[in-house]
Subunit: 340 residues, 2 copies
């Protein structure tokens, strides 16, 4: 399998990216190939002279870099030789089986969607992030690819995330919740109400109904479906709450005797590591014709290594074939939905 | 000042409500009056025979109770003698200067909006919740009164919350952030983009621009404006993350020696208390013609006591007059907004 990795993506590129690639090598198979995409000379200069296993890593030149805060669409148009643009083209031309980037998320989504195109019957791709909660991993889709979701999009996110949760995370029959503002049927906006009808009409969908924000961490569902605006707020808010709470705990411990504070530090570190969503190594862009993973901008080598392993799982388990199959069988079509 | 309190509102009613009312008495003035609204016999039976200060507490009979999970509109129509309905009527008939309930939130919003009507020039009321963050209190509006916000609504939420933050929370010049999915101008949906223009056009508004979910806890703004759907998710998600994280910490401490776990318990308790948003005692329904506070369903006596004090602040500081004045002066009118 040929996995292309954006060497220049994220706040810690290229050092952490290259480290992640090198760390992943020992877990790869005979037929795997890692392709670092970025300015050739710079990347090659940072690779150790004796690459762990000869030939497993290659470099594809992409001299331009898209910064984390550049406007996606305009920048993609201007920087056609950026790592993100080059990777998207590689996926399209069948020069890579998977693409991974921790770079500008908007640019990744736009480039991958545009070049890779959608799987048959998928109306819009969505990004699925896995939250490692105390009660187990919860997959949330969409977290920012589609901020004006129609019911058919949310329905398809449910189907695709459910397949991902089952086959990549190993959850036998993922319970799907629809993000709303109350569990009762009457709660929610029009899109939520119409989505619920679509999801209920599909007997193969393990739909548990509306959920609320707090339910994500309560172990009542394995998949959460929401609009990309709401999902993005959820993703970033969760980071913010944890960050804020840890700050508060540290401050409060500062008022205690130093020994207690010192003793608590490793406990906090363990928690941070266990519930760090970078652990799951990248969020799949579900619905595109290929394997595309988008990583957090703050990704460290561990995240990149995990993303490489996830892309292998995604590819090997034939997630896209399973999505195609599901959507071919379901009776829920775009025509079922008024006004879409 | 006459403050009406829903004796039957919330999961802990009427015991915690009555306790809260009794606890608040010593902090009230000569001219304050507390009116408990609920089934007369039951309430009177629970009041101590010698009420702390004679005459300060009275009871208004409302024999019906609206349960926490009943559908708001239908139930209000049926249960006209419920505590929520009776309180709303009291506010309308000028028999109460403030109304406070920890009951069915949807029913409160509907009843208070319907009976109390809006302040002049307010298009839709919004609920503002105060989050006690490590960096100070952050007021978020709307958290569920209006799930299909137009730009003019969000603009008015910014104005009203800012006045609340300044005069009730004592923040001199509250910094207002607009919830979006990225700080750049180009980010966000159409409503966000048009709201930003309205807010920028008002020179009296201390608008800092788009914020992201994580920014709520980073001390960069004092007021956050968002759609009621998003705000409700934020409110409940924050609860869920904190609950989940505390569970994780407890579990992790369980792996440690018992003494460390024991020592950490009081630290956690202090944090829980300090950052518990019930501390701020109820969320004002901003924009209605009166003082209405809605409390968390899980409210304890402390919350009710705090809500009573907040309602006094709201009334004494003439928050509604300041809102009327602001909206009379601003040049941003509903006519400025296309398609509203």
């Amino acid at each position: 399998m040929r996995i292309a990795i954006d060497a220049m993506g994220g706040d810690n590129a290229p050092d952490e990216i290259i480290s992640g690639v090198l760390e992943s090598i020992e877990r790869l198979g005979e037929n795997d190939e890692l392709i670092l995409v970025g300015p050739r000379e710079r990347i090659e200069g940072q690779l150790p002279p004796q690459r762990s296993r000869e030939g497993i890593i290659s470099v594809v030149d992409a001299p331009e870099v898209i910064d984390m805060d550049e406007p996606p669409i305009e920048t993609l148009r201007k920087k056609r030789r950026s790592s993100i643009s080059v990777m998207a083209k590689m996926a399209k031309m069948d020069q890579a089986d998977a693409v991974i980037s921790a770079g500008n998320t908007g640019a990744c989504i736009a480039a991958f969607q545009m070049r890779m195109r959608n799987l048959p019957r998928v109306n819009r791709p969505g990004i699925a992030v896995v939250f490692p909660t105390f009660e187990g991993p919860v997959t949330i889709c969409d977290v920012g690819a589609n901020i004006a979701c129609k019911p058919i999009n949310l329905y398809q996110y449910a189907a695709m995330s459910s397949i991902y949760s089952r086959h990549v995370l190993g959850i036998e029959k993922p319970r799907i919740g629809l993000m709303s503002i109350g569990q009762e049927d009457a709660k929610g906006n029009e899109v939520v109400k119409r989505t619920r009808e679509l999801m209920r009409s599909d007997a193969n969908m393990n739909f548990i109904g509306n959920i609320e924000g707090r339910d994500i961490f309560r172990g009542i569902c394995d998949v959460v479906v929401c609009d990309g605006f709401v999902g993005n707020v959820i993703l970033k808010l969760t980071e913010g709450v944890i960050e804020g709470l840890f700050k508060a705990i540290q401050h409060e411990l500062g008022q205690e005797r130093l020994r207690l504070a010192m003793k608590f530090k490793p406990v906090m570190k363990r928690i941070y590591k266990k519930y760090d969503y970078n652990e799951y190594g990248g969020a799949p862009l579900l619905g595109v014709n290929g394997t595309a993973l988008i990583c957090h901008g703050a990704s460290k080598s561990r995240t990149i290594k995990n993303a490489i392993m996830t892309s292998k799982e995604y590819h090997t388990k034939k997630i896209n074939d399973k999505i195609i199959e599901y959507l071919a069988k379901t009776t829920v079509r775009i025509s079922d939905e008024q006004g879409s």
